[in-house]
């Protein structure tokens, strides 16, 4: 086999007449962790369902280990597993749920041992949970059982859509630990979508941003809501800061359009007088400083109201900012790109 473990080419997916995902080129290298972030409805789940061979794309090719694959392809059977956002359990015991995938691929050899170790990996004691009915599980336990069922397969590729959404802190920690264990133990290639960008950034070899059906690979990006004037058919750059960042502040008839702002185009300043007059500025709070695994650049994460944002910073700036600190952030409207 040459090339990447999973190759995606000229992918287009439509829902009725609307294009919901479009990507020319995407590779998943063996043994890597790829994080996916982006707003709801941007196309993250669609991408995962297509790569997980659950949904057939409208157009494009998927190549796994050098062979073209689609839903029900025998070559991918048991080798690509997906924990979808809405994964449900079968109305059977925990053991039957966790061993389901292994039985589906007729793997009998060490089935019991695999089921046990998968449950242990997600922090559920086999002695207590194997015979339990799924009806007796809490939400967090059910999510962990669903993950264990995928881990038992020891797949080449494991796709996880919001694996830690709507679970308690303990389950959250167990799921995160189990996911990383899969790569360490079996070299599983991981693709994980999450709203927790800080966690994704900390574990991923690269992070993709999926927004408005397009995949942004090169840099951390911010997604802003920008007021749009339907009368003049222009984006109103002269509005208030609230209008630029808070969709709720854009009532009809103006409305809001979403725009992309690269993290490198969002600047920070302690001094309001040092901010160019044509820039849009706002007061935000620093929530952390991170070194990107992918490009080895430093980023500050900010919170403006409840909107998380990222700004690329220099090493000297990193020394002057601390989490919890209030700071001015600004950008030039010309750096916004609309989709």
């Amino acid at each position: 086999m040459t090339g990447a473990l999973f190759e995606i080419r000229r992918l287009v997916h439509r829902y009725k007449d609307r294009t919901v995902l479009e990507e020319e080129f995407l590779d998943l290298e063996a043994g890597t962790i790829t994080g996916i972030s982006g707003p709801n409805g941007g196309g993250k789940s669609t991408l995962i369902n297509i790569l997980g061979l659950i949904v057939k794309p409208f157009q494009g090719t998927l190549t796994f280990k050098g062979e073209k694959v689609e839903p029900f392809s025998p070559v991918a059977r048991g080798r690509i597993a997906t924990l979808t956002q809405d994964a449900s359990l079968l109305s059977r015991s925990v053991e039957e749920n966790v061993s389901y995938g292994l039985r589906a691929i007729q793997h009998a050899k060490d089935r019991k041992a695999r089921v046990g170790s998968a449950l242990e990996a997600v922090g559920l004691a086999p002695s207590r949970f194997l015979g339990r009915s799924v009806k007796a599980l809490s939400g967090g336990e059910a999510r962990r059982v669903a993950l264990a069922a995928r881990l038992a397969l020891r797949p080449d590729i494991l796709l996880l859509d919001e694996p830690t959404a709507h679970v308690d802190e303990h389950s959250n920690a167990m799921i995160r630990r189990a996911v990383l264990h899969a790569r360490e133990a079996w070299g599983t290639t991981l693709l994980i979508s999450s709203h927790d960008r800080e966690w994704l950034e900390s574990i991923s070899d690269r992070t993709l941003t999926v927004f408005s059906g397009r995949i942004f690979k090169e840099e951390r990006v911010n997604i802003l809501a920008v007021p749009y004037d339907y009368e003049t058919e222009t984006h109103k750059f002269g509005g208030t800061v609230d209008e630029f960042l808070n969709p709720l502040s854009c009532p009809p008839p103006s409305g809001c359009f979403s725009a992309i702002l690269p993290a490198s185009a969002l600047h920070l300043s302690h001094d309001p007088d040092g901010i160019p007059a044509d820039a849009v500025r706002f007061h935000s709070t620093v929530s952390g400083v991170f070194l990107s695994n992918k490009n080895k650049m430093l980023y500050a994460t900010l919170l403006f109201r409840d909107t998380p944002l990222s700004a690329r910073i220099t090493a000297s700036q990193a020394g002057t900012i601390t989490p919890g600190q209030a700071i001015y952030a600004y950008y030039h409207p010309s750096d916004l790109s609309f989709r």
Partner: protein, 229 residues
Amino acid sequence: MDFIVGGIVKAFHLLLAGDQETYSAVKATIYVSSLSMLASLVLGIPSGFALGYFSFPGKKALRMVVDTLMALPTVFIGLVVYALISSRGPLGSLGILFSLPGIALGQAILALPVVAALSAMSVESLDSRIRHTLMSFGVSRTRLFFTTIREVRFGLLIAALNAYGRVTTEVGISMMVGGNIKWHTRTITTAIALETGKGMFDTGIALGLILLMIAFAVNLSLSFLRKYE
């Protein structure tokens, strides 16, 4: 009132004494209902599954037709089957008029829409996430089908139970297609109709009690299955 009480007492006597005529009707009933249920389940479950699972043009219209067929009057089915299998009919060469297989054919037509419509309904009511969940393991189409069937097993059991209820209690088809021939095509329901007409309430009540016991036994075994599954 006395004749009812007397009827019940005599019914137990007939049952315990192993009355040949009574048991002949019971045997005929069990035979035709088993045959018709087998046919309707084999045809009805896959077609009901397809109807509930897949989307295709005209699905709503087809669903409406199947739902309507659930209310088919038994005498109408009896009439149609009679016409089909009588010596002048297209299936006359089969020679099954006034025979148990003839009754079973009519009863299968009666049960088929019940099994198909109720199976479709249970598949439709199945959590739509199940398909995605199963596909997320990379299962084959065959396993996807059988796992989905297993997930709706109780819905299918209820469909079968409903159909069985209709089949064992119908009179029209058995009377018209079977001819209510003593020792041959006389079923429990046709026997009850005949005996009541003759004023023989005791035999009628005895046969009615057996019908109730059959229904009770079927229900009991289903609840047992549900409990220990």
